[in-house]
């Protein structure tokens, strides 16, 4: 569960996979961000996408990036760069994202491929002197500063992996497997968080460890 093999069932003799389809979730997130830009009248053919990854070579980052690249193709965006954010340590991530924003004023979209890169988006945008919405930012997971960033308008959208479902279905499927031998693949989906109302829902359920 949670992290699938990049080739799905072909690459890994697993019984079944329960978790979000990383590629689909990333694709959905990217479309949401690109639509936002379109609505603002930004010329997408000249847009530049920066993706920050804590561990650039890791599977989650590669698959999520591929989902974003697919959406880019649809929208006619060609320019992109993957940033090595320097690991899981927040300060390093923030330093790299900030420096990148300063050095690359052509950046239109800044996407965190993982939870920590996404958490640091808001702080980096502020440090680089950007206004809310000046750069269209988004990413994954619902850490405290990511949600704060959405409320303040610095972050447009983030994907909630709905881990509760992953745990819930895992037990459920194991029961069914033991009893009947079922091995279903379950996509727990990626819940797109892009409005204060959705944040309110998450913030209410989060202390109960449901979201």
């Amino acid at each position: 569960m949670n992290n699938d093999d990049s080739e799905g069932a072909v690459g890994n003799p697993r019984l079944c996979y329960i978790g979000q389809s990383e590629k689909a979730a990333a694709y959905r997130l990217a479309r949401r961000l690109f639509d936002e830009a379109k609505a603002k009248g930004i010329d997408l053919s000249k847009a530049h996408v920066a993706m920050a990854a804590e561990v650039p070579g890791a599977n989650y980052a590669k698959i999520r990036a591929s989902g974003i690249l697919e959406a880019m193709k649809e929208y006619g965006i060609t320019s992109y760069e993957i940033i090595d954010a320097g690991g899981l340590e927040m300060t390093t991530v923030e330093a790299r994202e900030t420096a990148y924003l300063l050095a690359h004023p052509e950046t239109t979209f800044l996407i965190g491929l993982g939870g920590i890169c996404t958490d640091r988006l808001t702080a980096s945008l502020k440090a680089a002197g950007k206004q809310p919405g000046e750069i269209i930012a988004g990413g994954f997971d619902t850490t405290p500063d990511t949600l704060a960033g959405i409320k303040e308008g610095y972050v447009t959208a983030t994907i909630d992996q709905q881990q509760y479902l992953q745990g819930y279905f895992a037990v459920y499927v194991l029961y069914l497997y033991n009893k009947y031998g079922f091995t279903p693949n379950i996509d727990t989906g990626g819940y797109l968080v892009d409005s204060p109302e959705k944040i309110a829902l998450i913030e209410k359920l989060s202390p109960e460890h449901i979201r």
């Binding site: 650039p56 390093t92 330093a95 300063l102 680089a128």
Partner: protein
């Protein structure tokens, strides 16, 4: 030319020269002089002390002849203590002191284990690093825990650890400077500093001269622990949450910073100005390269090469001036 020789004999001198060169290089060559841009300097100034403050302590400990790999676990552990206490309703002020206390305690433990078992601290603190990280993961379940509501932006406590002076100068850099001055006085002007050097340089001689080397070492471990606690709170306040990944990788990067600053891996050699420059050099290198629009994929390679060059340069110049 006497003063030139005297200057070069000073161990931090090479680091200082390269540091000045690096700053000039980045100042002049980054597009639009971005390196000296207000925004960039402010970002650097508030971010580098997270590791920098820890590196100051690690440097003192290295001069004393020991290592502490556990900083990368002690730091998030202190951060979690801080956040838990806030959740329990304690005022930030008290939670902060408790985090420092826990840092000191974990440092004391590192010191006692190292001194009593007579094992290399590289091993003992590797053990405590893994142990405390494990305990932290179990205790915190690795859930991030936000503290924005408990330490509101603009509150006195928030401004003390994550604010700016005169709407621009990041307060974190001042904290770093304060600790550097205190530890510098301790190291170079206080008798305890002489004991630290003596212990790291020749432990038998120090013992024969009546210095309690075990006490000196344990005290240095505690200094590192307290600084980890401080850095933990400072970082937690800035990022507005506890994160289980706080401090990851700090153990080796702190050592790298100290080595770049001319601190010997064998103990007895190093200086506070050197450690300060080392703690500044690596973040500046990281930052400057990105501003030069070097591809950020694999930037670590440059930093690795630079670290090695620094160490080679240090030992080369040292041999020349001896």
């Amino acid at each position: 030319m006497e003063w030139v020789r005297n200057f070069l004999r000073y161990r931090a001198a090479n680091t200082f020269l390269v540091f000045i060169g690096l700053v000039m290089f980045f100042s002049l060559l980054t597009p639009n002089y971005l390196f000296v841009d207000r925004r960039n300097l402010a970002a650097l100034g508030k971010l580098f002390p997270d590791l920098g403050v820890v590196a100051l302590g690690v440097g003192v400990l290295m001069i004393c002849g020991e290592f502490d790999l556990s900083v990368s676990s002690v730091l998030p552990f202190c951060s979690y203590v801080f956040v838990r206490l806030l959740y329990r309703g304690f005022a930030p002020f008290w939670a902060f002191w408790a985090a420092l206390g826990v840092g000191a305690l974990l440092g004391l433990l590192n010191g006692l284990i190292t001194v009593k078992t007579k094992m290399p601290s590289f091993i003992t603190t590797l053990g405590t690093m893994m142990f405390w990280r494990g305990v932290l993961y179990i205790w915190s379940k690795m859930m991030p825990a936000g503290i924005r509501n408990l330490v509101p932006s603009g509150s006195l406590f928030e401004r003390t650890f994550a604010g700016t002076v005169g709407s621009f100068f990041p307060v974190q850099a001042l904290w770093f400077a304060l600790f550097a001055v205190i530890l510098g006085i301790l190291l170079h002007y206080h008798r305890f500093g002489n004991w630290i050097y003596a212990t790291g340089d020749n432990r038998d001689a120090a013992r024969a001269m009546g210095i309690n080397t075990d006490l000196v070492k344990t005290a240095c471990f505690m200094i590192v622990g307290v600084l980890c606690g401080f850095s933990a709170c400072m970082q937690a306040v800035r990022i507005g949450s506890f994160a289980a990944t706080q401090g990851i990788g700090f153990e080796l990067r702190a050592i790298a910073a100290c080595v770049v600053g001319g601190t010997s891996l064998r103990g007895g050699v190093g200086s506070m100005p050197g450690i300060v420059l080392g703690a500044l050099t690596i973040p500046i290198l990281d930052n400057g390269l990105i501003l030069l629009r070097v591809p950020v994929f694999g930037i670590s390679a440059f930093i690795g090469i630079a670290t090695i060059l620094f160490v080679v340069l240090n030992s080369y110049v040292e041999r020349k001036t001896r």
